[in-house]
């Protein structure tokens, strides 16, 4: 009966150990890496089989509990549809990344850190699986922190680079703040429920202050992991500086884990206060809009992708917030559409974001630079990468025809439904978030046109990329699978829907019994048909063209461009110039994206502009704050520089103080 849970645990075990045998093999041989990949594959197959069994068995939840020797101890794990849904990306992306690394991070090319990387890779994946499986607070916290620490070691794979060091450090602080918030949350939960059992529904009598505290702690802890806007500070640096398949894992899987937590905390109350959902919705909308604005302004393609993750997590949060609001006001339709959209978007994001990060890995592999403005014209040199990357970009912009659109569409539908409620109430205002979502969508298009256009199209902007070429099959295969996943999700949404519906049912049993189902609220079938119509229309146009064409083949000439025939590739519009107008529009938010250089009047010298796009929260907010605190606290340091007399005086002082306090 618990077979699928046992097999899942076996998969976790396999995953944990995947990097271990490699430690005993040569630094310069590939054997260890092959074994790690095979073990990872085994884990994925086991996990996949378990999930299939679970889904086909139709059981709602399976839980297992073993005693544990820690003071509070139980080792409780459980598998339900939500868990299963979040397990899928872990299993899929881990093996995709493993295969990708077979070429991208070959052991014989990286003898110094390859083994460490794979060890942490396995541990991190296993820990993420445990996080979603855990049904005991302490087990959950342990898995969470192991995940966070393994991620830290993955980020600092190339620790000799100061940028990596800084990114790792910021990540570590963020992760620690997160775990502290979660520790407090778990302890408070125990205080209210009397046990460390996780994710059980709290009953009515919870004091509102306690519930509020728990929610805020969860928001901090999980929001930090998910990268919700003011808490996203670690995300761009970590994603940009980690090896690309690791960035793919972070973005495609680890961020989801934060969402998972937010989902679960929402589940703990049957009718949470309205502000829970509103907070999530507003934070989500903020993350989406601000995140995408930051993305548009980036000049480093991995950072651009990272900010786009902030945006996408914001979109997911909007859906989640909507579902919570639905829970508060008892509107099953909002729950179904919000949660369905959020979960669907999580799945979609786990397909296209790893695809894009792996594409970024291909670029890095081929060109050794992360600057958008050093690339250009790579579609000719790396045609397969270009097509795959385009697919990912179209999907992530939420454009019709691919999967990203469907999930955003569900969230839109949910948001728009709030516009139709009768007069009065706050619910109507929620629909304005649809405007934010629209702006996000338009800006995302801008960002990804900037990225794909500057990187793959046009002419090359520097000579260092002359020898760029497509990587081998090991790197392209996982990307191809992910890209076809994106298409399949769009064309056959009905395959995923029942699964989502069950997850929604797990989350809010009453909502689905009240008649809400995704199919009834959102005609996905029609949407799939429309996608087909789109293809048909394109085909029709091509055939018309074919019919009226002249037999003469197209003539190839250099770009005309108003007869400026002898343009140099350096005169091209760069990515930075492309986004300049937008950046100026938001210059109140993102200062210093463009430096104006004084142009000498005579005999211009070669000049170079290095543009760093600062993160407002991190570079303008937290780091100066931290430096100030540090300076203030440093004023206390001379207390420790005194002769021993003063030290004795401290003793006397505390003694007298304590004696004086005796009177009170």
């Amino acid at each position: 009966m618990y077979m699928s849970l046992y097999i899942t645990l076996a998969s976790v075990f396999c995953m944990t150990l995947s990097g271990v045998p490699g430690l005993f093999f040569s630094r310069r041989g590939m054997t260890g890496q092959r074994i790690a990949m095979l073990l990872n594959l085994l884990a994925t197959l086991l996990g996949g089989a378990a999930l299939l069994m679970f889904v086909s068995s139709g059981s709602r939840i399976q839980t297992l509990t073993w005693p544990w020797s820690l003071p509070w101890g139980r080792f409780g794990v459980g598998l339900d549809c939500i868990t299963a849904l979040f397990l899928m990306p872990v299993l899929g992306i881990s093996i995709a990344g493993s295969i990708y690394a077979m070429e991208y991070w070959k052991q014989n090319r990286h003898p110094g850190n390859g083994r460490k990387l794979r060890l942490c890779w396995g541990i991190m994946n296993a820990a993420m699986m445990m996080v979603v499986l855990a049904r005991d607070g302490v087990l959950f916290l342990m898995a969470w922190e192991v995940m966070a620490l393994a991620a830290f070691f993955l980020i600092t794979t190339e620790d000799h680079d100061p940028g990596v060091h800084a990114a790792g450090w910021i990540y570590l602080i963020a992760a620690h703040i997160g775990i502290i918030a979660l520790v407090a949350m778990v302890v408070l939960m125990r205080l209210t429920t009397g046990s460390f059992d996780l994710w059980i529904t709290l009953h009515g009598s919870v004091p509102s202050a306690m519930a509020a505290a728990m929610f805020i702690l969860a928001l901090v802890g999980f929001g930090l992991k998910a990268g919700i806007m003011p808490l996203h500070v670690w995300l761009p640096g970590a994603h940009a500086n980690a090896p690309s398949h690791v960035s793919a894992l972070f973005s495609g899987v680890m961020l989801n884990i934060g969402i998972y937590g937010l989902l679960r905390i929402g589940e703990t109350m049957t009718a949470p206060p309205l502000w829970w959902g509103l907070t999530l919705l507003i934070l989500g909308a903020g993350s989406a809009v601000v995140g995408v604005i930051f993305a548009v302004c980036q000049n480093d393609y991995k950072r651009l992708l990272a900010y786009s993750s902030v945006e996408n997590m914001g979109i997911v949060c909007m859906g989640l917030g909507l579902a919570l609001i639905g829970r508060s006001v008892n509107r099953p339709d909002l729950i179904v559409l919000g949660l369905g959209g959020a979960l669907f978007h999580v799945l979609n994001h786990s397909l296209f974001k790893p695809l894009l990060f792996m594409g970024a890995g291909n670029l890095l592999h081929a060109t050794h630079t992360r600057k958008i403005d050093s690339l250009g014209g790579l579609a000719a040199k790396m045609p397969i990468t270009a097509i795959l990357f385009f697919t990912g970009a179209l999907a992530i912009c939420g454009l019709p025809g691919l999967n990203g659109f469907l999930s955003e569409w569900l969230i839109y539908l949910g948001l728009l439904r709030t516009a139709t409620v009768p007069q009065g109430g706050t619910l109507v205002w929620i629909s304005l978030a649809a405007g934010a979502l629209a702006a996000t969508g338009a800006l995302a298009v801008a960002g990804f046109v900037k990225l794909t256009g500057s990187v793959f199209l046009g002419n090359k902007r520097s000579d260092q990329i002359s020898h760029a070429h497509d990587p081998g099959a090991a790197m392209l295969l996982p990307m191809g699978i992910l890209a076809s996943g994106c298409c399949a999700m769009a064309l056959f949404p009905d395959v995923t829907m029942p699964f989502l519906a069950r997850a929604i049912h797990d989350w809010a049993p009453r909502a689905t019994t009240a008649g809400g189902s995704i199919g009834a609220l959102a005609p996905l079938l029609e949407m799939a048909i429309v996608n087909a119509v789109l293809l048909l229309a394109a085909a029709a146009i091509v055939s018309v063209l074919w019919a009226v064409r002249k037999t003469r083949a197209a003539v190839r000439r250099p770009t005309w461009s108003c007869a400026c025939a002898r343009t140099s590739s350096r005169m091209q519009y760069t990515g930075a110039s492309f986004s300049r107008m937008l950046a100026q529009m938001f210059s109140w938010m993102i200062p210093n994206t463009h430096a104006e250089l004084p142009v000498p009047r005579y005999c211009p010298q070669p000049m170079e502009i290095v543009r760093d796009v600062p993160d407002v929260v991190l570079d303008r907010g937290l780091i100066p704050c931290f430096a100030l605190t540090r300076r203030l606290l440093a004023r206390l340091r001379p207390l420790q520089n005194k002769p021993v007399n003063m030290y004795l005086a401290y003793m006397l002082a505390i003694l007298l103080l304590l004696l004086l306090a005796l009177g009170f």
């Binding site: 454009l399 702006a439 119509v533």
Partner: protein
């Protein structure tokens, strides 16, 4: 049953056949106001036909994106046209949530148009692409807010019921505000004055036309046809707000609708004749104003 077959067919017929007429009307109107005779009304048809049969010169820099772009753009516009009801008749394709698809189809078109511009490797085209993108970010929010007014008004999230909602339920002020906002978006999205000037091709202040500098022959023909169709689709949408009156007799309404469209083109031509193009830096303000108009319309209804 009869209507279910005939109406969509007429819809598709109008959608496919009529677009080039509208630029013709606009140009004619402008010529009249300028005291010129102007080109024939059907001139755009001739142009497009001729272009389709011409040879192509393609830049050596470009890739498949450049050639795919006009096709995808046109396909997206066509599909969008199928979602908007013409006159009092339901659109051939309508389902819950199609308005989002409508908005995003233009996004899809934009993705490809701007990518194709970047594909040429020329600064001119890229500059146009950057501008197009910047303004679209503002106009997309405005469109959605405008549609939100209609959602609130009709209680439905599909374009057909939204646009065909009974007159009795329509408060004037919000609808007018939304109509004004959407009209501004219409001008912007179709590269009309005061945002853009479709007549001059070489000015560095151009937006849309500068993006297609390197297109020639059939590709250019497709682009021109596509932009005319976009004008038609958006005009049809705005018409529902501005002229929500119908005869009630199918035959009359099917005649009335093209006439309304032509009148709309005349209005656009008139606007173009009387207004100068705005400075580039003022365009965002105009578009933000459009968003505000729509948003204000929504607020009026919620209040």
């Amino acid at each position: 049953m009869f209507e279910n077959i005939i109406n969509p067919l007429i819809h598709i017929g109008l959608l496919v056949a009529m677009p080039p007429l509208l630029p013709g009307v606009i140009n004619r109107t402008k010529a009249v106001f300028a005291g010129r005779k102007g080109p024939p009304l059907l001139q755009p048809y001739y142009d497009i036909y001729k272009l389709l049969r011409k040879g192509m010169v393609i830049s050596t820099t470009t890739t498949w994106v450049f050639q795919a772009a006009p096709v995808v753009t046109l396909a997206a516009t066509l599909l969008a046209g199928l979602l908007v009801p013409f006159g009092p008749f339901a659109a051939p394709i309508h389902f819950t949530g199609d308005l989002i698809l409508f908005v995003y189809l233009f996004g899809l078109a934009r993705f490809f148009t701007t990518s194709a511009a970047l594909d040429t490797g020329s600064s001119f085209e890229a500059m146009g692409a950057a501008r197009e993108m910047t303004f679209a970010c503002l106009s997309e929010a405005a469109v959605l807010l405008g549609l939100l007014v209609l959602v609130r008004l009709s209680g439905s999230v599909s374009l057909t019921p939204m646009l065909l909602a009974p007159l009795a339920h329509r408060p004037e002020a919000p609808v007018l505000l939304a109509a004004a906002g959407l009209f501004i978006v219409l001008l912007a999205e179709n590269s009309r004055i005061p945002v853009d000037d479709p007549n001059t091709h070489l000015e560095l202040t151009m937006i849309h036309e500068v993006m297609v500098l390197d297109n020639s022959g059939p590709l250019l023909g497709l682009i021109q046809y596509g932009s005319a169709m976009k004008l038609l689709v958006l005009s049809a949408l705005v018409l529902h707000l501005l002229v929500p009156f119908h005869a009630g007799v199918p035959g009359v309404d099917w005649v009335l609708f093209p006439v309304e469209l032509i009148a709309m083109a005349g209005v656009i031509g008139t606007v173009e004749s009387f207004m100068a193009r705005l400075q580039m830096r003022h365009v965002p303000t105009l578009l933000a104003a459009a968003s505000l108009l729509c948003g204000f319309g929504f607020v009026l209804m919620v209040r």
